[in-house]
Each structure stands twice: as C-alpha cells, then as structure tokens.
Subunit: 260 residues, 2 copies
DNA sequence: CACGAAGTTGCACGATTATGCGTGAATGAG
DNA sequence: CTCATTCACGCATAATCGTGCAACTTCGTG
C-alpha cells in the first residue's frame, strides 16, 4: 500500500462519510493506527482535514468554514475594507468582489449611503440587505463554492451589460510583472470581465498578496488603477507599483475599531 | 462515534428541528445522557447553543436580522420544508423559491444529495454551500430586499434559459378562483417565469396561505401540479384543490427526530 | 555491488482526553 | 409542598495521542 495512495483514500473516505475513525480505518486497511494517525497529522498540517480526538473531520476549504472564515477576518482585512468603503461616493455604481475582504467593505458601508452595488457574491448581497439606500444588482451564474461566487458564461454575459464606476477586486497575487493572479481559472475570467466593466479597478491588497503569484492570470498590472494596503507595508515594496501610475491608498487602523 | 462528529450532529439537529432533548438523543445514539449533557455544556460555553432544562435550544444572539427570522421559522414551515426536501430525487434539477419556507427545504436536503438547485435567492445559495454534491445555479438581477431575491428583466431572461423538473413555489395566497398571488408586482413576474421553466410547480402552502388572496397574480391555479400542506389542515379546505387535479401532499411532524 | 541517506512503518511509553457511574444538589410539574 | 427528573461534580476506566526508537525499504552514488 503506497503512502500517497493511502492518503488519497483517506480524503476520499472523508468526503464520502464525513468523518474518519482512526481505529476503524486501521482495521480495514490492516495497518497500524500509528500510521493512520501520522497520515492524519500530516494531512491536517496541509489543511486538507481537521484532526479530532479519535480521527478526523473535513476541514473543507469550500464548505462550512466559509462562514467561519468570514467572522475571523483579520484586522488587516477589516482595515482595508473600511478604507475601501470610505472611498465610495454617493450615487456611484461600484462592483464588489467575493471573498472575505470584500465582505468587510460591505460591513463598513455607512448605513445611510445611497449607491448601487453590483456583485456576483450572494454573501455580499445578503450582507447589504440592511442598507436601505443601497441598490444591489446580483450577477447570476453557476456557484463556485470555494469562494461562494457566481461564475461561468452567464455571469460573464450579464457583467458585459454593466458599466460601473469602481471595481474593488480581491486577488491572491499582485505582482509587477506577473500582474493580477488568482487560484481558480473560472474566477479569473469573471474578475477580468468585472475589471473591464468598471472605469477604475482597485485591488484589495493585504500584505500576503503583494508580489505573490497564483496559477491563473486575471489581467496585466496595467488594468489596475489603484490599490489599498495597510500602513504597515514598507514603501519599498510599493515603489514598483507606484512607478506604474497606480494610486496607492495606505489604510490605517482607526483608534477605535468599529465593526458593523 | 467521534466526539466532534457527535457535536456536529447536535448542531445540525438543532438547526433542523429547533430543539434538542438530551434523553431522546442519548437513546437514539446509544450513549449515556451524561455525555450528551457534557456536549451541550461545552457547546453552550462556545455560544453555539443555549442550554435549557432537558436539552438545548438555538442561541441566536449575534445573528443578523434576516438570519434571526430564518431561525424562528414556525414548526409548520419546517414540516413543509422537510416534506419538500424528501420529494427531490437524485440528479433532478429543481428550482427553490426565496422565502423562509424554501430555506427550510435547503436545510433539510440530505447532505450527500447529488442534484442541481436553481434559485434566485442568495440566501438559499449560501445555505447550499455546504452540500458538496449540489450544484447551485444562481439567478441574478436586481435584489428585491423585502424577500431577498433577484427580480427584474435580467432575472426573467436568465430563467428563460432553464428547464427544470420541479419548482417549489412560495406564495402569500393560493385560492381556487383567484389562483396564486403574492405581495409584490415584480416578484409575481419572476415566480411566473420560474413556474413556466419547470415541468412541475409545487406550492408550499402553510395554512395561512390557503384561500388567501394578495394583490398581484402570479398565475391561475391551473399552473399548479402539486401542493404541500400539513396534516392539520381540514380536508374540506383542500377539496377544491384536489378536484382541480392538484396532487396534495400532507406533511406530518415525524414522531422521531431522525438526523442523518 | 556496496554503501549511506532519506523515508516509512510498527512498537513501547507516559501524557492527555473521553466516557460512564455514583452521589447529592437543583429544577420543574402537579 | 412533594416527587420525579435533570443537573453538576468527582472519580475510575478505557481509549487515544505524541514522541522516541529500531527495523525495514527505497533510492541515489561511487
């Protein structure tokens, strides 16, 4: 029995049954519990599952803990979200991306703001229900569950009918040469379409995204008109981007943390 | 039985049935009441539920307004939702309406169901993220905030490209002569389009909707192929509908709470 | 082929965690 | 008020965990 084969089996079993019991599995495969537990430990280290006493449970990048991810937003994302929310002027039409940072924008919008928000994220749409003055345009399509956003041809087509003022884009990488990148092919297409539909594209750049590169290219760096970072980021890192004519907004923590 | 697996089960059961009885659950899972009580104590310490004498109730303190409404769904809606969920066969394409009853359908879907769900409700879409086997098609459009569903011409147009097996429709009135009615003009149009896109239209008819009439007509009663009511409803009231060839499903509260 | 490095596996040990039972206190119904 | 149920706590038992260690395989190198 190959190690990697066994690990694959563990993940498959987990997906099917929703739980792994170390003892049962060791009996079934005729290998010691130690080996199973070692596997579980390493798979957990890779974030592929979550260890619990007696076995493992799914950690599901795509599943349940999306809600959890929303609520454990880092301070950095909150700060960036607040800065982005402050940039929105009354009666503008803005596009909000999916992702945890964009949720923070929604949460920091003034409750009396009158504006139009376009989004392909049902999470954002639900978040904005309480904002009576905000008109929400929901982009439909096939739901990509990892990020909880609509993707696919119908989404692209509907985006093509919109002209917005500003698009607040979330990425997993922004790099002076590689441009804007993300981890999913479909999502990259949608982000490109959204960028094309807005006069300005502002990238929400929490520190780990700076100079990072992910597999799928959204657009060259020239598509970016602005980016928001925290004031913790060294100016040196931002120099490349500033030289390309990108407006850089440095967001700082207000003395009072004000979550919505 | 893994500890964390059991706790997850407790939370799921709580979400579905709205209450946990320690004694029943211990009997069902063949473990001591002590263990259940310990679980409840610790889950309560994490704020995930609220302890009461004999068991536990959902804790909905920090939840949003709309989220709160969802969790106070009446028993009647839960019962109807469960019956509707049970009608969905593997690999079917079903349309779920917006509204609190439809949310109950989503919550009662088996977690391993493989099917496609079409919806214009971002709430439903988010609810289904945890169902790995369910493909979600989100219908976009302008967000009508009262019901939290997408409406308008783009929604209608996108619906027109879909052919589904079954549409589970929520209404505010179902009446033998006045037909299906609801409280919003735009929403009525969308519901009509959804009905036209499905081979069968099944109305979720909680008791206060029966023989009620609202301002805007969705469709004549002939558009309905089935309806789901609770077994509390008098047969006399349903006679009109049965005579029109509508299949009536009488849902009852199960004597035994049977979590997956 | 010989050799060593790197990786994998099973076992032993003490430490940690989960479970069930007994006891007496607390709670809610009649 | 009375009584049955439910609860919380401590304790004993059993299961599970992490670590270190030795035996073994696989692979690359000379």
């Amino acid at each position: 029995m190959l190690t990697s084969h066994r690990r694959k089996l563990i993940l498959d079993t987990l997906r099917k049954t929703g739980a792994i019991v170390a003892k049962d599995l060791s009996a079934e495969l005729n290998i010691s519990e130690d080996t199973i537990r070692r596997d579980l430990r390493e798979l957990a280290a890779e974030g592929l599952l979550q260890r619990v006493h007696g076995g493992a449970m799914p950690s599901s990048p795509a599943m349940g803990n999306f809600a959890a991810r929303l609520n454990v937003a880092t301070d950095e994302k909150r700060i960036i979200g607040r800065a982005a929310a402050a940039m929105i002027r009354p009666n503008q039409v803005v596009i909000l991306d999916g992702g945890t940072t964009a949720v923070q924008i929604a949460r920091h919008l003034p409750s009396d703001l009158r504006a139009t928000v376009v989004t392909h994220s049902p999470t954002i749409a639900v978040e904005l229900v309480e904002h009576a003055g905000v008109e929400v345009i929901l982009i439909g399509g096939k739901l990509f569950k990892h990020s909880v956003v609509a993707v696919g041809a119908p989404a692209i087509e509907n985006i093509g009918r919109i002209r917005a003022d500003t698009y607040f884009m979330g990425v997993t990488g922004i790099h002076a040469e590689a441009g804007l990148t993300t981890g999913d092919f479909e999502e990259a297409h949608v982000k490109r379409a959204l960028s094309a539909a807005a006069a300005e594209t502002i990238v929400l750049a929490s520190s780990e995204k700076l100079n990072a590169v992910s597999p799928y290219v959204i657009a060259p760096i020239s598509a970016v008109t602005g980016m928001i970072v925290t004031d913790q980021v060294k100016s040196k890192i931002l120099a490349h981007f500033a030289r390309l004519g990108i407006t850089i907004t440095r967001a700082s923590a207000s003395p009072k943390t004000k979550p919505a």
